[in-house]
C-alpha cells in the first residue's frame, strides 16, 4: 500500500512540493527567458516590442507568479541547505515560517512596484 495525502499533510511536505514544482516551473521558463534576452542581438527596438507584449495584465500576473516562484525556490533552498549543513534539532518549523515569509515578501514587493 502507498501513502495518501493524509500521511503527507504536514508543513515540511508541502514545502517540498512547493520546492519541486517551483523548480520544475522555473526550468521550463528558462529557455523562454534566454530566448527573450537573445533578441537583444537585433537591437533595442526588438526588446521594446517584447516588453510591450509583457504589459498585458495576464502576462504581468504570470510575471508576478514567476517572481514568487523564484523567491520561494530561493528561500526553500536556503532552508534545505541549513537543514543539511548545520546541526539542528527542533527548530525546523520556525525556519520554514521564515522561508515562506521571505518568499511572500519578495513576491509582494514585485507586485506592488510593478
Amino acid at each position: 500500500m502507498k501513502n495518501d495525502y493524509r500521511a503527507r499533510n504536514h508543513p515540511a511536505w508541502w514545502a517540498f512540493l512547493v520546492h519541486r514544482l517551483s523548480g520544475l516551473a522555473l526550468s521550463l521558463f528558462l529557455p523562454f527567458h534566454f530566448w527573450a534576452l537573445g533578441q537583444a542581438f537585433q537591437g533595442e527596438a526588438r526588446l521594446d516590442t517584447l516588453l510591450r507584449w509583457t504589459e498585458q495584465p495576464l502576462v504581468k500576473f504570470a510575471e508576478t507568479g514567476l517572481v514568487l516562484l523564484l523567491a520561494a525556490h530561493l528561500t526553500g533552498g536556503l532552508r534545505l541547505l541549513v537543514l543539511e549543513f548545520l546541526p539542528w534539532r527542533g527548530w525546523q518549523k520556525t525556519l520554514l515560517a521564515w522561508a515562506a515569509g521571505a518568499a511572500l515578501a519578495a513576491g509582494l514587493a514585485f507586485a506592488l512596484v510593478l
Binding site: M1, N3, Y5, A7, R8, A12, W13, E84, F85
Partner: protein, 237 residues
C-alpha cells in the same frame, strides 16, 4: 451505547476495507478496538502486537492515513465523526489484514551496515566514551529507535524508490558512524552513499514528524550526507 464505526483492511495487497461496529469506551486505544473486533466479531482478523505499552513497536498500523503505534494512540485523538480507518503500514508488503512483511525493512539495516563492528579484543581495556563528546551526543539522539517501521511507512522516498534504505536503517548507520569503538566507518559510508542511500533523502521530514520516539532521522541522514561528501572529497569513498 455509543458505537464506533471502524473500517479495517482485510486480505492481502488486493484486499478491501470492511466495516465493524465497536462499542466506544473511555480511554480506548486503537489497539483495544482491533482486539475487540478479533475477540468479539471476527476471530480471523490478523494483527500483530506484544507489549501494549509502547516498548516493542510491533503494533504499528496506518490509522486514518497516518502511521502510528496503535497501543499508544487514543481513539479520542484520531476519531472523526465517530469513525476510524485502520490499514496495514504503507510501504511494506501486506501478509494478511493488518500484518505486514518486515523482512526487506530489516534487510536494509544490514545493507546499510547496521551491525556494530568491534575493533578491540577481549584483552583491550574498556573504551572510555565521554557522555558529552560530540560523537556520543550525536549517537544518543538516534539510539532509542526500536525498529517499529513507522518512519519507513511514512517516507515517500521509499515509495518512489523501493531500493531506498529508509530512515530507520540510515539512522542506525549514523549512530554507528558516531561510535568511536566501531571499525567499519569507511565501508559503512560507502554502503549508505548514493541513490538508494542518504543522498536520496529530500528532507520531507515525514519520518521525524511521525516517529513515536521523537527521533529525527532526517538530522541523522543529513549527518550521513555530510560525512559521505567529506569522504568523497578526500577520495576515501
Amino acid at each position: 451505547m455509543k458505537m464506533l464505526h471502524v473500517s479495517v483492511w482485510r486480505g492481502g495487497a488486493g484486499g478491501e476495507y470492511r466495516s465493524y461496529e465497536v462499542p466506544r469506551q473511555e480511554s480506548q486505544s486503537v489497539l483495544d478496538v482491533v482486539t475487540y473486533i478479533q475477540r468479539n466479531i471476527d476471530p480471523t482478523l490478523s494483527y500483530r502486537f506484544a507489549c501494549r505499552v509502547g516498548m516493542c513497536g510491533a503494533c504499528a498500523m496506518t490509522v486514518n492515513g497516518v502511521a502510528r503505534w496503535t497501543c499508544r494512540t487514543h481513539v479520542a485523538k484520531v476519531v472523526k465523526d465517530d469513525a476510524i480507518q485502520i490499514a496495514p503500514l504503507a510501504n511494506f508488503p501486506v501478509v494478511k489484514d493488518l500484518v505486514t512483511d518486515m523482512r526487506e525493512f530489516f534487510d536494509k539495516w544490514a545493507r546499510a551496515r547496521g551491525q556494530f563492528v568491534p575493533c578491540a579484543t577481549r584483552r583491550d581495556a574498556f573504551a572510555q566514551v565521554a557522555a558529552d563528546s560530540p560523537g556520543r551526543v550525536a549517537a544518543n539522539a538516534g539510539i532509542e529507535c526500536i525498529g517499529c517501521g513507522v518512519c519507513y511507512a511514512s517516507c515517500d522516498v521509499v515509495s518512489w524508490n523501493p531500493d531506498y534504505l529508509g530512515p530507520a536503517a540510515l539512522n542506525r548507520a549514523w549512530t554507528l558512524v558516531n561510535d568511536v569503538r566501531d571499525g567499519a566507518r569507511r565501508e559503512r559510508l560507502a554502503a549508505v552513499a548514493g541513490d538508494a542511500g542518504c543522498h536520496a533523502c529530500h528532507t520531507h521530514l515525514s519520518c521525524s514528524e511521525r516517529c513515536p520516539k521523537d527521533i529525527t532521522p532526517t538530522a541523522s541522514i543529513a549527518g550521513l550526507k555530510r560525512a559521505v561528501a567529506v569522504a568523497a572529497l578526500k577520495g576515501e569513498l
